[in-house]
């Protein structure tokens, strides 16, 4: 973990309520896809955790949805604004278990961390499929970007306005894969759990106090004992999760 100041390079709306923020700063502590940063926001007490979408050449990319007070203020912040970030938080995804043809499963604003994961997997010579679920076509994010990285992308939308009609689980039913990596809302996880054919990893969300394991604010029970989502997670392996 590192505490340092980042400067906003850009902060633009890319879909309904969804923003992309690029920041310049010290990303040396960001070692794995699936980690997050914890951002100090002027006027609020607690930092706000946001998953890392990408981090390279000194530029950190975050894609976040405006869901409350914190993200509302973030969405207002313009170029040049300086923010205190804690970086290198969380365990992140373990790509060593992916096998040769892993599947990424993303739901809505859970998709961003899969971008950096996809990059890493492809750089490791794996052939990646990505199944992405959204409510409707206007909410689709990162599909093109994942294709551009070389992933086979499958889309599902609840209203059928793009890809197959239904949930992301409807898009993966017939796919072959060696392992899976999922990020999205809990209901999606429960659905994936029913249909997934292999081992895999899930990235969980929880309200956090500190984000680095001190306050026990985000604990959960697993088959291997209590874990802190912020430090022992946010990524847990399918086998250890108690649903």
């Amino acid at each position: 973990m590192k505490e340092s100041i980042f400067e906003i390079l850009s902060n633009t709306k890319i879909a309904a309520d969804i923003y992309k923020m690029e920041l310049e700063g010290d990303i040396s502590d960001i070692s794995r896809p699936g980690q997050f940063v914890n951002i100090k926001i002027e006027g609020l007490f607690l930092r706000r955790p946001i998953s890392v979408c990408d981090a390279q050449n000194g530029v950190l990319t975050l894609i976040y949805k405006v869901v409350g007070q914190g993200t509302e203020i973030m969405a207002q912040a313009g170029k040049g604004v300086r923010l205190s970030l804690l970086t290198g938080l969380g365990n992140g995804y373990d790509t060593s278990k992916s096998g040769e043809f892993p599947l990424l499963i993303g739901g809505g604003v859970g998709v961003p961390p899969l971008y950096m994961l996809c990059k890493k997997l492809i750089s490791e010579g794996k052939s990646v499929k990505a199944a992405l679920g959204f409510n409707k076509a206007e909410e689709i994010i990162l599909a093109k970007d994942l294709k551009a990285l070389g992933a086979e992308v499958y889309i599902a939308t609840v209203d059928g306005s793009a890809g197959v009609r239904g949930f992301v689980t409807d898009a993966i039913r017939d796919l072959d894969y060696s392992y899976f990596y999922a990020c999205g809302p809990l209901p999606m996880f429960r659905a994936v759990e029913k249909v997934a054919k292999t081992s895999g990893q899930y990235s969980f969300e929880e309200r956090m106090g500190c984000g680095f394991g001190a306050c026990m604010g985000c604990s959960c029970k697993t088959k291997y004992g209590n874990k802190r989502i912020c430090r022992d997670g946010p990524v847990l392996e399918r086998e250890e999760i108690i649903w």
């Binding site: 505490e3 100090k40 007490f45 106090g209 680095f212 001190a214 306050c215 604010g217 604990s219």
Partner: protein
């Protein structure tokens, strides 16, 4: 050259800065960030007789100038604390640590304190009779002078180490509790624990916390904490560990002027993991600003 040394119940502290229980784990997360031997000491995670998972999540909520927590005393239990946490702590902390203890009965408190009394690493026992987030126990001992005295007496019987009773602010008259603890033999008092608070999610129309209510900490509670430390200092002449929203060296000075011998830093550690270190580094400069050579001389200076 200014001196930041203070004496807390017979043990000397290089400085009065003590990270508060529940915000500093068992120290080693922070030891990865800086040498925690610069601290006066720290109060480790509230420990109970049996292991506890604590409350369901969400356990945390944002507030104006502060936060709510309803962790509910998650801890591995006194056996594991002694067999695993303390040995691990030894590797990164050379000073006596403050052992924070909670319970659900007088016997619980006595049992856990007796176990920890035998540990050389433990310098003080901080007995938490004021946790607002557990039911049937915790705060109930801290809101009744008789119950507070009973816990204090039971703990004093089983230990030679200084016993510091941690008081609840959620009372009509904290002075009466303080006097009861002192008369029952408490060597010191620490205050305040968190203020009982609540937030509601306007979209779901349900409480934000799974536990409905939680403990309010952060700068927002500082004026209440300062008032209570000031009142208790007037009434009892045993050392007070002042806490509640302290986030700067300026706050430390103000709390000591109210009557605190040492201070605990809580929520600030969660927002800035380096907060306690920064406060220690700032102290000499701020002491000079207020023309203080010897920090221990200002204790109760506002009376």
């Amino acid at each position: 050259m200014v001196s930041t040394k203070v004496n807390l119940c017979g043990l000397s502290l290089d400085n009065p800065i003590i990270p508060a229980s529940g915000t500093f784990g068992f120290g080693y997360e922070f030891a990865e960030l800086y040498d925690i031997n610069i601290l006066g000491t720290f109060s480790f995670k509230g420990t109970t007789k049996e292991p506890r998972f604590g409350n369901p999540t969400p356990r945390i909520a944002e507030c104006p100038s502060g936060m709510l927590n309803a962790v509910g005393l998650q801890n591995p239990g006194v056996d594991k604390v002694i067999s695993q946490e303390l040995p691990r702590l030894k590797k990164c902390f050379d000073k006596p640590v403050m052992a924070n203890v909670s319970g659900f009965s007088v016997d619980d408190y006595a049992y856990t304190c007796e176990r920890l009394d035998k540990e050389n690493q433990v310098g003080w026992l901080e007995v938490n009779i004021s946790c607002p987030n557990v039911h049937g126990g915790g705060m109930s001992f801290g809101t009744d002078p008789k119950a507070a005295a009973a816990v204090t007496r039971a703990v004093k019987k089983v230990t030679k180490k200084p016993v510091i009773i941690k008081l609840s602010p959620n009372v009509s008259d904290i002075v009466s509790i303080a006097i009861a603890c002192k008369e029952a033999g408490a060597d010191g008092l620490s205050l305040i624990n968190t203020l009982l608070g609540m937030r509601i999610d306007k979209k779901t129309r349900k409480p934000v916390l799974a536990n409905t209510t939680g403990g309010y900490s952060g700068p927002a509670v500082f004026p209440v904490a300062l008032r209570m430390v000031y009142q208790v200092y007037e009434a009892v002449k045993i050392p007070i560990v002042g806490m509640g929203g302290i986030s700067s060296a300026e706050d430390v000075i103000e709390m000591m002027l109210a009557g605190a011998t040492a201070v605990e830093v809580g929520a600030a550690n969660l927002v800035d993991p380096y907060a306690s270190k920064k406060i220690i580094n700032d102290l000499p400069r701020v002491m000079e600003k207020y023309k203080i050579n010897n920090l221990s001389e200002i204790i109760g200076g506002a009376h």
